[in-house]
């Protein structure tokens, strides 16, 4: 057993209100630069919808992620993009490269027009101009272009995941009364088997051993752009100005100083949880080779119980510091992912072992309105999954590689918690009903209470359990401070300017 630690994340989609505060927090800190305007290291998508970049989930188009070799005996994992030889052959023109048209052309406005236009009968307007070449443009797409357009026959209908739903469910998604959509914030998943790392010809992308953050070494990146194609989540971006690829860094400078990443910290709905997971790195190769529908369970198996003395001993032996083990024991992510099995990884079928997990959204609850538009709260509103509007098939295609059971199990628990708390706080649900719901979900009252607490009223410290990094200690161990005194400080001090 080789125990490694990973700073992991849970996004509780039931709580996401789609306000995009996370995206703005990230943009203001990291990507407000020439060449990076179009990048959204954090973005919030309306689902069903096309996403960003357009139809990123269509891997027949983008060739992202890994796939198992198509042979019965001992199939190996390979990049869907290309093998090593093809990497060299395609070095000069990347065959599956999304272009700016798949994202959008960044623009600003010519505000001078407002001041300089001649006197006339019309209000002056500021024309949109491209941030690339400065020419006037007609805006055809932008960030969150299909925001809130779930049920749209122009956008949502192009969602690649709708293809394998039965026609009845699909129809439901597009009728006004029964329409269902939800918001899905996305950042880099900091995968255990990252496809971007595997595809990088220069070897510039790596996983930090301490916390599992996946980073691109900007000095080593040569701009071959294979990571952009290989990442199935399209979370590496090519900076067209500097000629380097960039991605979410999980705000590691903030993590190292004990702060939650900006998107986590600023989340208005408090949907985000961050904590350490201990996992067995020896199990990775096997966990990647199981059939699609077993991928989530296999990934959960890899995640180790931080309270198990054997795991703790093995972790210490593998070099995991005590502080990190303690953080793993307090991790909200561990509870959502492993203990309660409420949170599921995004598209596990890409076989990258993503370490960002989503609690599926339950709202809106009702399947359809009754006559005269009213329902009896105690029997209808929280009663059952069968009456909920959620298309389970769509959720399972998103979060469990098509395994409906896992999604249903999570939903049953979420519904049971509601019924249980309704009984406790309002009292219009009987104790028997509450007990029956808990039994159906296969959990006790204690667990329901714990889920309720961490979901509804968690404190900042409960949501973000950041492991101690003690960076200052590391630096002192490595360098003699006296020797560093006369130098510039911590590494390079050059502005990231485009080379010649």
């Amino acid at each position: 057993m080789k125990v490694k630690s990973q700073v992991s994340m849970v996004f509780h989609l039931d709580k996401c209100i789609g306000c995009h505060t996370c995206s703005i927090a990230c943009k203001n800190i990291w990507t407000d630069r020439p060449g990076a305007e179009y990048m959204w290291w954090n973005n919030v998508e309306t689902k069903p919808g096309v996403g960003f970049p357009t139809q990123w989930e269509d891997q027949e188009k983008y060739h992202g992620g890994w796939e198992l070799e198509d042979k019965p005996k001992n199939p190996q994992l390979k990049l869907k993009l290309q093998n090593r030889l093809q990497t060299f052959a395609n070095l000069f023109s990347n065959p599956a490269m999304p272009t700016m048209d798949d994202y959008y052309e960044p623009w600003t406005y010519n505000y001078n027009d407002l001041f300089n236009s001649p006197l006339g009968p019309d209000q002056p307007t500021a024309r949109p101009i491209s941030r690339v070449d400065g020419n006037p443009i007609d805006i055809k797409a932008g960030p969150n272009w299909d925001d809130d357009l779930g049920g749209s026959n122009i956008y949502a209908v192009k969602d690649p995941l709708l293809a394998d739903m039965n026609p009845e469910d699909r129809q439901r998604l597009f009728s006004i009364e029964q329409l269902f959509y939800f918001y899905m914030p996305r950042i880099c998943n900091h995968c255990l088997n990252a496809a971007c790392v595997g595809a990088c010809p220069s070897g510039a992308i790596y996983k930090r051993a301490e916390d599992g953050v996946v980073l691109i070494n900007q000095d080593k990146c040569r701009g071959w752009r294979m990571c952009v194609s290989a990442c199935p989540y399209k979370k590496t971006y090519y900076n067209w100005s500097t000629g380097k690829s960039e991605k979410c860094i999980l705000c590691y400078p903030r993590l190292e100083t004990g702060q939650a990443p900006a998107c986590f910290h600023s989340c208005v709905g408090r949907i985000r949880y961050l904590g350490v997971l201990l996992y067995d790195a020896d199990q990775i190769p096997d966990a990647l080779k199981v059939p699609d529908e077993q991928l989530v369970e296999r990934q959960r198996e890899m995640i180790l119980d931080p309270f198990d003395p054997k795991v703790v001993a093995a972790a210490k032996e593998s070099g995991v510091p005590d502080g990190v083990i303690a953080a793993a024991q307090n991790s909200p992510v561990y509870r959502y992912v492993k203990e309660w099995e409420l949170a599921l990884p995004l598209h596990p079928e890409y076989r990258t072992l993503p370490m960002l997990f989503y609690v599926p959204p339950l709202l809106p609850v009702l399947n359809a309105t009754q006559e005269n538009g009213t329902q009896r709260v105690e029997t209808d509103l929280f009663s059952s999954l069968e009456k909920a509007r959620v298309p389970v098939r769509y959720m399972s295609r998103t979060l469990s590689a098509g395994n409906d059971e896992l999604v249903i199990k999570a939903y049953r628990k979420m519904i049971a918690v509601r019924i249980y708390k309704r009984h406790e706080t309002v009292g219009d649900v009987t104790a028997e009903e509450a007990k029956a719901a808990l039994e159906k979900a296969g959990m006790g009252a204690e667990e329901a209470e714990a889920i309720y607490r961490l979901t509804s009223i968690p404190t900042y410290q409960e949501r973000f359990v950041i492991p101690p990094y003690s960076r200052e200690g590391d630096i002192e161990e490595v360098y003699d401070p006296q020797q560093r005194k006369a130098e510039t400080g911590f590494g390079r001090r050059q502005a990231p300017q485009r080379g010649l």
Partner: protein, 224 residues
């Protein structure tokens, strides 16, 4: 005197600038080592231009280097008329591929306003010089045929003499103007390498052939 300047002094200066400059840039500003791809902004012409260019120019350059370093092997490789004919044909096809590729890339850069916006002056210089270099190379190939044969009795001894620090410019000074231009542009391009995106040549990611797919790096490394 001019011949000494052009075919002895200039090559040495160009090589020194190219080698020292590239190493210096690598050591001081590795961040700037990238191909500065513009495929993200324009994909359709890029495929034809870049693919034709690179698939044409890389073998051509390697064949040139082989002509300098292993002339006997190269001479043997076109020892019979059939082989000579074949290598002549292959060289011309590769050269035309490179020329068409460079032409497409030049056209693409001239016509796309997005690409123009991220093009630096040195990009224009380099791309024009590369186009000219291949153009003159093809003039040599077509106007002075059987280059595979005469190459190793003119350019090779000259380059060898430079490498051995016993410069013998007389091997090339009597050649026609097109040859001289081709030689000098070659050295000029080499000298321009550290000042342009040409540095991406030395970053060819060979190690990808054998490295493991996943890379895990400890930030904390106990040195002391």
């Amino acid at each position: 005197m001019t011949d000494i300047l052009l075919f002895v002094v200039f090559p040495y200066v160009a090589l020194a600038i190219g080698i020292v400059g590239t190493i210096y840039r690598y050591l001081t500003n590795q961040y700037s080592f990238t191909s500065l791809s513009s495929q993200f902004l324009e994909n359709d012409l890029q495929f034809w231009g870049s693919t034709l260019w690179h698939y044409g120019i890389l073998p051509t350059t390697l064949i040139h280097i082989a002509g300098f370093t292993i002339p006997k092997v190269m001479a043997a490789a076109h020892g019979t008329p059939e082989l000579l004919y074949l290598s002549e044909l292959a060289g011309k096809i590769l050269g035309i591929m490179a020329l068409v590729g460079a032409g497409i890339l030049l056209y693409r850069r001239l016509t796309s306003s997005k690409i123009r916006a991220i093009t630096t002056p040195v990009d224009w210089i380099i791309l024009s010089l590369l186009f000219a270099q291949v153009f003159f190379g093809l003039i040599l190939a077509f106007a002075y045929r059987w280059g595979a044969a005469w190459f190793i009795f003119t350019a090779t001894p000259w380059m060898d003499s430079l490498a051995l620090f016993q410069p013998a410019p007389q091997f090339v000074t009597a050649l026609p103007l097109a040859h001289k231009v081709h030689f000098l542009t070659g050295f000029l391009l080499f000298a321009l390498m550290p000042f342009s995106r040409l540095v991406h040549i030395v970053t060819f990611p060979l190690s990808y052939a054998w490295r493991s797919f996943q890379l895990v790096i400890w930030t904390r490394r106990k040195v002391v």
